[in-house]
Amino acid sequence: MRWSLAAVLFFAAVVPSVAAQQNAECLACHGQQGLTGQAGHSVYINAEKQKASVHGSLPCTACHTDIKGFPHPAHPAAVNCASCHADEAKDVEVSVHVKAAANPCLACHGNPHTIVPVKDPESPVYALNIPKTCGSCHANPEMAKKFGLPNVYSMYMDSIHGFALAKDGLLVAASCSSCHGTHKILSHTNPESRTYRANIPATCGACHAGPEREYFAGIHGQLVKAGDLDAPVCSDCHTAHQIARVQTASWQEKTSATCGNCHKEKYRTYLDTFHAQVSALGYVETAHCWNCHRYHDILPASNPHSSIAPANLVTTCGQCHKAVTASFISFQPHADPRNAKDFPALHFAAIFMDLLLLAVFGFFGLHTILWLIRSAFDRHKGGA
């Protein structure tokens, strides 16, 4: 890299006049619009744009190294970007994109003769243009199908990050490269990948430092730190590409079920409660998992810092229920009528109600059916 930069500086500082003179020779032909190669494709170079590009000070032969003069070979050798951009090339070499195109560099950076700096809004890799650039492949349903990928482009564009970037033009909003990296994009199964499970908290934490700190203080973060990759990371609750504002009713309504993917029994018993019934009707101001257990710094009840530690329950329940007492908190937010051992009174109340329903509907169900048959028969006879 250092050597190639030195070369660039040399070309830029010492030989611009030489380069300009030499390029003028090439542009004598290639500056003509409509000039085509033998295969029929355009070989026209827009001299002005080329000169304004990051490569504008370079002679054509800096990249097209096999061309020594005119006439040149009918099929010049492929340009090797790595001869200058060695580090980036090395990263791309190990990335998932190495075989994405004949020249993977150009797939993202566009026409090499008109490349502008990354900070230029015209650049395809300018922060606000990245989703569209990645989307040129990743929004393509055929390509998604071929590689077994979800159509992440539309998901991202509808997410909180996509909205901030596309609608508000927020330069710091996370785009594809913020999470996946740029040249060295690795499969999420690769432990070195920024999107490998164990690395996701750090990847998100690059912007969301506060939640990252809380997360690692909580039980989920501690488990991940200890190498338990079944413990949830950011994307398990927030998703990767469809991240929504957590205050929305739709997010609040569906995310308790996400906790239920692992905490099956707790979720099942939660569903029986008034809290869950209210939530299912789209009402936000009710207890979801995180209202009692907190979200990033979740701790087990045995930990005195936990929001559900016995000493903290009056405060936790008191967030919603005014003037709660020590007696109130013996309410069981995860009561299970089927569990006779832990909830005997509730269990027997449930059995009593079941028997009552069975008795009433058994008796009157039979009564009604027999009555219907008997009186229908009578009326039929009466009519006939």
Binding site: L281, Y283, F328, F331, F361, H367, T368, W371, S375
Partner: protein, 292 residues
């Protein structure tokens, strides 16, 4: 309704076609009809909003809640109907106490005009089942048949269980100063189960027994008009009819034929309530047994 009255040529046709006008007998007083109307409108309101909460995970509940203004509206109308129903219930209790104790109408508590079960009711149950199987004659029912008494007491039982558990949950932090919070778990359970019992019982059994059974189908308007024909009284409550005739009191209970507008009104309201109840019955049964 009044416009249809004015343009209807029926009065002439009626006079020509029907030789003898049927005589009408007064079964329910105006205040009893108002009481029933208050109970069934608030009950329907409680059932619609309550079942929406009970089965909130089903698609129909979600859509209904959305249509009426979300959970806040559901809870408001549930409490609103509960308070009205409680008031109606308390007024009824007060009326019973006033008439039974201060005015000495002991007939409220026992005898043929009382809702309190008698030995005859158990005989009637036995006799009715024998009749179902062609083993005996149809029992001769008195003023209130046993299933009518059951309907009446079911409301008492339901008011007690659902009302007490409901108010306990409404004022949970206050109530939990006197009872353990874990009792509120039991309150929610029995509130929901008893409500299911009440809703299914009313919309299936009560509707069949009083309106949909052959003999009353499709609707018994007596609770709206307060009146039934002498023929109907003779067939449905033969013991009462015989007693009235024998004691010469029938004349005192005779009433003019129900007004057309009142019958139309009864038909309209009754149909809406029976249909709403039936829809709710089907939805809750479906959701309950599908286990979602």
């Amino acid at each position: 309704m009044s416009s249809s009255d004015a343009s209807d040529p029926a009065p002439q046709a009626e006079g020509a076609a029907v030789p003898a006008q049927p005589r009408y007998y007064s079964r329910f007083s105006l205040s009893q009809r108002y009481l029933h109307a208050t109970i069934f409108t608030t009950f329907l309101g409680l059932a619609l909003t309550g079942m929406t909460l009970r089965f909130s995970h089903s698609g129909w509940a979600d859509r209904f809640a959305l249509a009426v203004g979300g959970f806040s509206a559901i809870l408001f109308w549930h409490k609103f109907c509960a308070v009205i129903l409680t008031l109606a219930f308390l007024i009824h209790l007060g009326d019973l106490g006033y008439r039974g104790i201060f005015k000495g109408q002991r007939g409220i508590f026992w005898g043929p005009n009382s809702m309190v079960p008698r030995w005859k009711d158990f005989q009637d149950i036995y006799g009715h089942f024998r009749w179902f199987f062609w083993l005996g004659p149809r029992p001769k029912f008195d003023r209130f048949a046993y299933w009518e008494k059951f309907d009446y007491w079911a409301v008492f039982w339901g008011m007690g269980i659902i009302g007490i558990s409901g108010y306990a949950m409404w004022f949970a932090p206050f109530v939990a100063r006197f009872i353990p919070g874990s009792w509120l778990n039991i309150a929610l359970l029995i509130h929901g189960e008893e409500a299911l019992l009440a809703v299914w019982f009313i919309f299936a059994i009560h509707f069949f027994n009083t309106h949909l059974r052959p003999g009353s189908f499709p609707m018994d308007l007596v609770i709206f008009t307060g009146r039934m024909t002498e023929e109907e009284l003779k067939e449905k409550h033969p013991v009462e009819y015989q007693r009235l005739v024998e004691t010469g009191k029938l004349q005192a209970y005779l009433a003019p034929a129900p007004e057309r507008w009142l019958k139309n009104f009864g038909w309209l309201v009754g149909s809406v309530v029976v249909l709403s109840g039936f829809v709710l019955l089907v939805l809750t049964l479906f959701t309950f047994f599908r286990g979602v």
